[in-house]
Symmetry: C2
Subunit: 227 residues, 2 copies
């Protein structure tokens, strides 16, 4: 057990080194990199589809998709005309910096204004792997229940933005939005909190505005890089 922990620590240190190399590359390119993390089925890909529909006319977007299996998600983004590369982890439960570097080697994703990295559907493991991103963003669907931030505190403490998704389902599920807002605010007092629905469009413009604000802040050097 101790040996597992030691080797895992060493692997994480190697990942951090690779992530720092990536971050320098992203900074030089002026690309905002967003690491999008959630449970399976929280609506990450749908949120990206809506983002692409609104922003791809004026901004160069690119996507790296992480999944255990299937090219489905990259296919959905490519169908909207955005360069998207699918990383298949072959059973692994998270993306690592090496896989992101590999994606940049084989796919024409840069230069871009915003590179979205949609991580493997998993609210736990992806949290500890730095991918060289500017920020982690967590998505939580209202169908998942209002106890999730305190049950999965690490990602909610680290995510710059917590995006609540599928708000159109609120009338049909038990989900105390104010309780979730309080949990997130306690875990990350400086984080942003956004309620969205791809079905009704609620909050999607605000989400896009937050992204563009973050891009401008990065380019004007007013925001701390790193995650």
């Amino acid at each position: 057990m101790k040996q597992v922990v030691t080797v895992r620590r060493r692997a994480l240190a190697a990942n951090d080194e690779q992530a720092d190399v990536l971050r320098r590359r992203f900074d030089e390119a002026g690309t905002l990199v967003v690491n999008l993390i959630s449970s399976p089925g929280s609506g990450k890909t749908t949120l990206l589809e809506e983002t692409v529909r609104r922003l791809s006319g004026d901004f160069k977007l690119a996507v790296i998709e992480g999944d255990v299996a299937t090219e489905n998600d990259a296919g959905r983004l490519r169908a909207l005309g955005v360069p998207a590369h699918q990383v298949l982890t072959g059973g692994a439960c998270h993306l690592d910096a090496r896989q992101v570097a590999g994606a940049l080697e084989v796919a024409s994703l840069l230069p871009a204004d915003i590179l979205f990295i949609e991580n493997v559907g998993n609210l736990i493991c992806p949290t500890t792997y730095d991918l060289g991103e500017d920020c982690k963003i967590v998505a939580l669907s209202v169908a998942e229940g209002d106890d999730k931030p305190v049950k999965y505190p690490a990602i909610f403490a680290r995510a710059e933005i917590a995006v609540i998704t599928k708000s159109d389902l609120l009338p049909h599920v038990r989900f105390d939005l104010e309780s979730v807002r309080r949990q997130v605010a306690t875990l990350n007092p400086s984080g942003r909190f956004l309620v969205t629905s791809a079905a009704t469009g609620e909050g999607i413009d605000a989400w896009c505005a937050l992204l563009l604000g973050r891009l401008n802040a990065k380019r004007s050097g007013t925001s701390a890089a790193g995650s």
Copy 2:
């Protein structure tokens, strides 16, 4: 990377040994042990609450809850009068056999007719850790989307029963039930498929009947043990 794989394999082998010890113990006690796996927020705890409400009058039930943080879930089951022990994994993304053995040491869970092990909310990592259970069962809520079996094939291939939850939300989400049924049948031709809703009660009696059938099969020696 290679070293990580080697050490992980060794850890898994050690886990399998511990799981075999547990399995012999469960077999001697005549206890059916169910390892319940799903994404966060699929409704595992709610399914267990409904199961307890229906079966605890006639059967001795016990629960081990696995979570990264909070005692919430064990508390919900204990409130129904069922012995429930919370394992806090402290960031780890799955339960292992050592933690189950530890839970049996400190909590009075056996003898029991059925021991439910509600794994950490994660559709990937728990799949590879044998806990000495008789069967793995996967839950998938209709709000998670109908592409999940092919995207997370390992657990759907191994689970004896795939329980679709929150069917009351079907009118409000895009979820092709027949497509999911076909995906699951392809991944595990001998598996059972069940549609349930804790809100309306749909399928819950059938779920309980399946569990009792499995308990009888184990006790009469007509079912292959192991998972």
